[in-house]
Symmetry: C2
Subunit: 229 residues, 2 copies
DNA sequence: GGTAACTTGCTGAGTGTTAAGTTAGTTAGG
DNA sequence: CCTAACTAACTTAACACTCAGCAAGTTACC
């Protein structure tokens, strides 16, 4: 499995670019940490996938541990950036005196953003799953824990009475959303496959989104949450 | 960290008992495969925890792979044995012409059994999570896939009209139950801890059970599922 | 004494980290 | 403009370690 770089030495641009190398190493590390876990992902393979040598990841990031921390930070930042718009709209809906939109519409966009993010970035789910299995110590070291979802449901809860909602527990809402959204991604290779479902099927994702919104509205206590599918 | 076995050679009963050793090895292997995963769990440590030597696990189970397969089989069998009674009652409720109990009661027992099993046997959840992360190839090799939950919801769906239930999708019900029940166990070290919750808190487990039953009844379409908490 | 139930020594493969070596880019001085 | 001096960006090699699997040995029990 040797790469044929020697046979094409002058062709491809083999220029030195630290930023490019850093990014390539981070991307490779994210994939491999997600696929194999911290211990089983070797710096050699990370370097190989990034197109650099065995020692380069250490050269740039100091240690495997620091490289991993950087991967975690990038994942958290990307998640926040992706979810913030939709979930801030949810908070704003709750804060409005007379919202112009139905709650279902705003909530559906938030759930949709979450599902899309998880689907586009399965590495995120895998790394988080592995963190959970490892005790979550490294994840807890993150300084920016990203509470976008918690904040939105917290605001919604505080303004529940004003909108005729139940006095639901925001934590339960978070557990509900996360549980239902994570599972199909985390278990795409086991449970989902056993039921003949796939994350690549848009119809399944649409159903799942509507389903989650339905359950959340029921939990939150939106009056019109029952009825036909 | 050497054990002081040499200083007390004759005292403890060091009798030879193949069946006892097998069981001890299986238990140790389950714990370590759950805690560290297939690759990172070493046969040496498994032997140490089981009170035998490095080579004994291989002696009894041939290879690490076969030992792992045996652990998987035992987990699946234990799960089936534990869930079958409660979920069969659910099927029987659906098959009955005029059930004497409300659906909520039977469903609550089934959900309760599932939650209790997961809580008592976190190794089960961890091993399954690791299987999902590893692609689930080894899990798929199991000959007895254990469809207790699927069967119950399938029967319920087939008899839905007779009980005034919605024509719900049984797979969605499974995903809902599994997602909501797995998450708190799988992420006990991350999400749960961050929200100050613990699986050791009986009140939390009771709330969770009621919550899951509520959402399932809503999904299934039980008319009286709404209302006060 | 014979066999099942183990234990111990060995081997080859693979790991993270470090240190030394090498090469490409950059810049200052003429 | 040109080139020598310098620095940043890597590569290669070595070290100390762990592991699974095998083979050979040892011990306990019928």
């Amino acid at each position: 499995m040797t790469t044929a770089t020697e046979t094409a030495p002058a062709a491809s641009a083999r220029t030195r670019d630290a930023e490019r190398s850093r990014r390539a190493i981070l991307a490779a590390a994210e994939e491999l940490f997600a696929a194999r876990g911290f211990d089983a992902a070797s710096l050699g393979e990370i370097g190989e996938r990034a197109g650099v040598s065995r020692g380069t990841p250490s050269y740039f990031f100091g240690s495997k541990e620091e490289l991993y921390a950087t991967v975690l930070e990038r994942l958290a930042a990307d998640r926040t950036a992706r979810l913030e718009p939709a979930f801030r709209q949810l908070s704003q809906w709750a804060l409005a005196k007379a919202p112009t939109e139905p709650l279902r519409a705003v909530l559906s966009r938030a759930v949709g953003a979450y599902l899309e993010f998880l689907r586009e970035r399965p590495s995120f789910v895998d790394v988080i799953e592995r963190e959970a299995l490892a005790g979550g110590a490294r994840l807890a070291e993150l300084e920016a824990p990203s509470t976008v979802i918690e904040d939105a449901f917290g605001t919604l809860r505080r303004r529940a009475r004003a909108h005729g909602l139940r006095s639901f527990d925001p934590t339960e809402a978070v557990l509900c959303l996360v549980g239902l959204a994570y599972l199909p991604v985390a278990h795409r290779a086991t449970i989902l496959r056993r039921h003949g479902l796939s994350l690549d099927d848009p119809a399944f994702l649409r159903r799942r989104r509507r389903h989650i919104v339905d359950l959340l509205l029921h939990l939150i206590g939106e009056p019109g949450s029952g009825g036909a599918r």
